[in-house]
């Protein structure tokens, strides 16, 4: 695994005059679980959309030496940037194995698409073990529990061998145990890869974040470790009622 970092500089996104993201800069390195937090409408998801090519943006987003902005979505993915969505989006009609196999196809030659699958790719087995889905190999993805779908998405990113994992609210709708399991999973993954999590859930952020960037109205409000961010009076002010939630328990 290369030690390349994701560096976003002066990212700007406008939607017909409305500035959704106005000059945001942050970076993420392998070995840390990076969090992007902020109230609704702060531009967190838009940042991810911009980095993954879904939304047009100006500024710069580099992985190592490679500029990502302006490339097509599937080409950015082929550079090693993977993402999940707020609502788990897996292929409901296909089995867990088929879902993962499609994700693994990224590294295959297109001619091999015409053949049927024989056996299971070792990378798929590793990802299944990592995410605890080994028993669900032949289950149609549509009948997995919500948490399992999120894990399947993370497993797909692992099979894709994404260098950067951009996770949009990965624990939304999960039980407490599932949250803990997900957090630990992210910490294991982050040892070798860049993990950037967009989250609402403050408790989850406190427990698993290495570094945090707080966004507010499309701008960076504060940046640093969990403790530093919590101590920032500006952050407390923005969160008002929830400021207690950040500092307390």
């Amino acid at each position: 695994m290369t030690g390349a970092s994701l560096v976003v500089t002066d990212l700007r996104v406008e939607f017909s005059g409305f500035v959704a993201v106005g000059g945001v800069s942050f970076d993420a390195h392998p070995g840390e679980v990076r969090f992007l937090i902020g109230p609704n409408g702060a531009g967190k998801t838009t940042c991810i959309d911009a980095v993954t090519g879904l939304t047009k943006a100006t500024g710069s987003a580099r992985l190592g030496q490679t500029e990502l902005l302006g490339k097509q979505v599937h080409k950015i993915v082929r550079r090693g940037i993977g993402r999940t969505f707020q609502t788990a989006s897996v292929f409901d009609e296909l089995t867990v194995l088929q879902n993962l196999d499609i994700a693994a196809g990224l590294h295959r030659r297109s001619v091999s698409l015409l053949r049927a699958r024989r056996g299971i790719d070792p990378s798929i087995e590793r990802a299944l073990e990592e995410t605890g889905l080994t028993g669900e190999l032949t289950t149609p993805a549509g009948i997995l529990s919500y948490g399992q779908k999120q894990w399947l998405e993370i497993a797909m990113l692992l099979v894709q061998d994404a260098k950067v994992l951009l996770l949009d609210e990965p624990v939304a709708g999960m039980s407490q145990d599932e949250r803990t399991a997900t957090g630990e999973l992210l910490q294991r993954i982050a040892a070798k890869r860049i993990v950037l999590v967009v989250e609402h859930d403050m408790d989850f952020m406190r427990r698993f974040a290495t570094r945090v960037t707080v966004l507010h109205q499309g701008k960076v409000l504060s940046q640093g470790t969990v403790a530093e961010v919590q101590a920032d009076p500006q952050v407390q002010e923005v969160y008002l009622g929830t400021a207690d939630a950040i500092t307390e328990a």
Partner: protein, 364 residues
């Protein structure tokens, strides 16, 4: 999962025996010829099943590609029949007019066969590339393809000197040197059509069990998600679209010697929709559904449609309503419905799973 494809392969085998060995023995020449016609529609239907059932592209204008094959073949057969002279219908309008330039190459059998294969690939390739790269899909794609079929039919109708217009091209005497009036030769043409239908089924069978088949379903269900797995969904759809166009063209090409006439009515909007109708009836996403549906609709048209022409349209319409209301996946989903009661198919399961997930969300 590993076993099921082989059962389907066995099914294709049974189908092949029925079409290639049993049918010529038990059917009269007249009905064998009719079955040949249904086989041509079935070939086009197999392609529609791939593009629409598995790929999610509602191809409402397959008549265009059917026409490319049919008119390529018809021009060749017309020239073969005319020999060194100008085709008879052209003489009617202007006895001294030379053969239009685009007719000339169709004298060659090799060129004609190549055109039947390459024309739809080139046209569908260019059209699909332009549409899918611009992310045209859903109703827009359906309307656009339908409009093309209408436009082509109108174009042929209005160029009566060059293409025979509404009267179409007919009175073919030879088929690559074989006399078409000879029952033995007619049976050979039938066998070619039935054989190619089997070949198309085998091709689609391999598509469905391959990784491409899985990717195609994934693209149909969540195109954007596929993009985020590093594929360009436009390319995936393009392959399915081109293959379906090729099949429509092959069906059209064989339609001509079997039926003996091709007119704009066989390729226009109504004809294109009728092709879709068989596929919907049989089950668009299944392997056999499109072919069997097309054969059934064809058979209904020539049996019921000739004895009770006014009623047939209503019967077809009613059948449609019933199938869409009660069997959205077509008649081929009927067996699964019965066995599914006992086994709880995955299709019927998601409801409780989703409900559980929502409940969980509320609780946490």
């Amino acid at each position: 999962m590993t076993k099921k494809p082989w059962i389907s392969l066995g099914g294709i085998g049974v189908f092949a025996v029925l079409l290639l060995a049993v049918a010529p023995l038990v059917l009269t020449d007249h009905w064998l010829n009719n079955l040949g016609k249904y086989c041509c529609w079935a070939i086009a239907a197999v392609g529609i099943g791939l593009a629409w059932g598995r790929g999610g592209m509602l191809v409402m204008g397959q008549g265009v590609f059917f026409a490319l094959g049919a008119y390529s073949m018809a021009m060749h057969l017309t020239l073969e029949t005319a020999g060194d002279r100008i085709p008879a219908f052209m003489v009617l309008y202007d006895p001294l007019a030379p053969l239009p330039a685009f007719w000339e190459p169709f004298r060659g059998a090799g060129f004609t066969l190549a055109a039947i294969v390459l024309l739809p690939v080139v046209v569908a390739g260019a059209l699909g590339y332009a549409l899918f790269k611009r992310r045209v899909k859903g109703a827009y794609f359906a309307i656009l393809s339908q409009a093309l079929a209408v436009a082509l039919a109108v174009l042929i109708s209005s160029t009566i000197r060059e293409t025979g217009g509404d009267t179409g091209l007919s009175d073919f005497k030879y088929f690559f040197g074989f006399v078409l009036n000879d029952p033995a030769n007619r049976q050979m043409v039938y066998l070619i059509a039935a054989g190619l239908l089997i070949v198309c089924l085998l091709a689609v069978w391999q598509f469905y069990r391959s990784r491409f088949g899985e990717l195609l379903i994934a693209t149909r269900d969540a195109e954007e998600r596929v993009r985020f797995l590093g594929y360009d969904p436009a390319n995936v759809k393009l392959v399915a679209f081109v293959v379906s166009a090729l099949m429509a063209s092959i069906g059209g090409a064989l339609f001509v010697p079997i039926v003996g006439i091709i007119t704009p009515a066989e390729i226009g909007a109504a004809a294109s929709i009728l092709m879709i109708a068989g596929v919907a009836l049989g089950g668009r996403a299944s392997l056999f559904g499109p072919a069997l549906g097309a054969i059934a609709v064809g058979w209904g048209q020539s049996s019921l449609g000739s004895t009770w022409p006014d009623g047939w349209t209503y019967v077809l319409g009613l059948l449609f309503i019933v199938v869409i209301l009660f069997l959205p996946n077509g008649l081929s989903s009927l067996p699964a419905r019965f066995t599914g009661r006992a086994r709880r198919t995955p299709v019927e399961q998601p409801t409780p799973a989703i409900a559980a997930a929502e409940l969980e969300g509320v609780r946490s």
